[in-house]
Amino acid sequence: MQRQNNFKYESQKLGSWYFTVAVILFGAQLVLGLVSAIQFIYPSFLYDILDFSITRMIHINALVVWMVYAMIGSVYYLLPDETGIETVGIGMGKLLFWILTLAVTVVVLVYIFIQVGPATQATIWLITEGREYIEAPRWADIGIVVVVLGFLANTFLTALKGRRTGIMTVILSDMIALAGLYLAGMYFTDNISMDQYWWWWVIHLWVEATWEVMVGALAAYALIKVVDAKREIVEMWLWIEVAMLFGSGILGLGHHYFWIGTPEYWWEIGALFSALEPMPLIGMFVHVLYDWGKEKGLKENSGVDTSSNNTPALLWLISNGFGNFLGAGVWGFFHTLPQVNIYTHGTQFTAAHGHLAFFGAYATILTAMFYMGIQGKYGIKKLRATFASKMAIFLITFGVLGMTVALTIAGYEQVLIARAQLGATWDAFFVAQNQLWMSQAMDWRLIMGIVTTVGFFYLVKDLLTISKSPKNVYK
């Protein structure tokens, strides 16, 4: 089948560039995750060449950066669709894409080849700030701010000039918060409590507030495109979700302030608002179920084709409903209350929650956006899931769930032995590390990581080839 670029707008083309880099970084995340998992079992693996501290750092940074890339790509992709016009300043947008990609490449190369530096300002500026999840050196921090300001200018100028929809309004306001919060992570102080206090503004308020709102807006857009959901209804849901997400998520920040030296009133604030945080996730799950079921019912009653416009995207969208609820909701609520958190904090429970929540809440919806990008690029009216689409979703979901269960078992063992029985001492940590339950859980984590990676290869194959399959494409 002859394939050609069918994007109506340059902005969508730029969005697909961001998607491409996102997929590459997704692969890098998995590879470095596998290396870290091997090092957990065989500590001498790549010792003194690429230590666990470095591989884990790149594993997590690659995750954050691929998701940011995919989110920016999604906004550039939907912007002309929502506003009805080409993105204003698209040339600058393209230039900023190349600057950002070059900067990310240099940062990763420095992480791999230089790794660490002396405790001086030069290290903070040129190698790494050493602050978990946002390790980028100061020069890259400033570069990121410049690129994001350009992106904000592109988006705002386009939205102001073109049609204004509820989805765009939510995205615009969310992006101000998302970009502004990054500045809190650039504040540096020698006081570790104060440093952590501001650092959580970036980490928590990104992941449990602004990113969730972004996901809600992307899900709303995807539902309109994939199942023909009615815009007015979808946007009404979106406003409720935004209110609930910000209502619970902003002060849910308190659950990170339990043990860093902040006043005790954060215990009550953190407990109450953390307990409310799963509410919007249930709302989002029900929302997808409701819109999908309603539109299917309406089509059935009218005797028209009830199939989705983009089956792979719909499958990922549904897995988002489940994954967000399970990963962010259930696995978060497990250990969010202070009475429990004092035992679980910093155990493998956190890693279990992190794996399932990032996958369920973000990777799913962003992968759905990749498929929408493929549909748009090749002008496909209906896109059907292939064998590779199904294998990708099955293996990645099964692999991540498997890793989560393995890490949960390891965390449970740590809670019982290292924390409850032996009192969280230095020795207790190593006693717990040497238990059979822990070592077997780590073996299973690696096996399930390999399953996830195989699923990723299916995903890449599918993204590259699905548009060539006449059986699965209706133009």
């Binding site: 109450l272 035992y343 809670v415």
Partner: protein, 108 residues
């Protein structure tokens, strides 16, 4: 010698599993409650199944109460959680009231 200061609540080792399971069940029962209400409102289930929804809501309350007891919550927190559960009973109904009104407003 100064007595050590314990600021953490002492949870019995045997209580950790029930705590984690009940925490998960609170959300799962809450999800089932909301889902059954959704399916009834969508007329995918008969309205008789609303009893099933309320049954899961009651199970959710029980799990919440059980959890707060096991983690030695303060009396005020227990009351706040119970009030939150009553609010949760109403949330899906408020949702669908808004949905119905929106559909009436925007229906072609």
């Amino acid at each position: 010698m100064t007595e050590p200061l314990y600021i953490r609540p002492i949870i019995e080792v045997s209580d950790f599993l029930p705590i984690f399971v009940s925490a998960a069940l609170i959300l799962l029962f809450g999800l089932i409650y909301a889902s059954v209400v959704t399916l009834v409102k969508m007329q995918r289930l008969k309205s008789i199944y609303m009893f099933l929804a309320y049954f899961f809501w009651i199970l959710q309350i029980y799990c919440t109460y059980f959890l707060t007891m096991k983690i030695h919550s303060q009396p005020f927190t227990i009351k706040a959680m119970m009030i939150a559960m009553v609010a949760y009973l109403m949330v899906p109904h408020i949702y669908y009231y808004l949905i119905t009104k929106s559909e009436e407003r925007y229906e072609d």
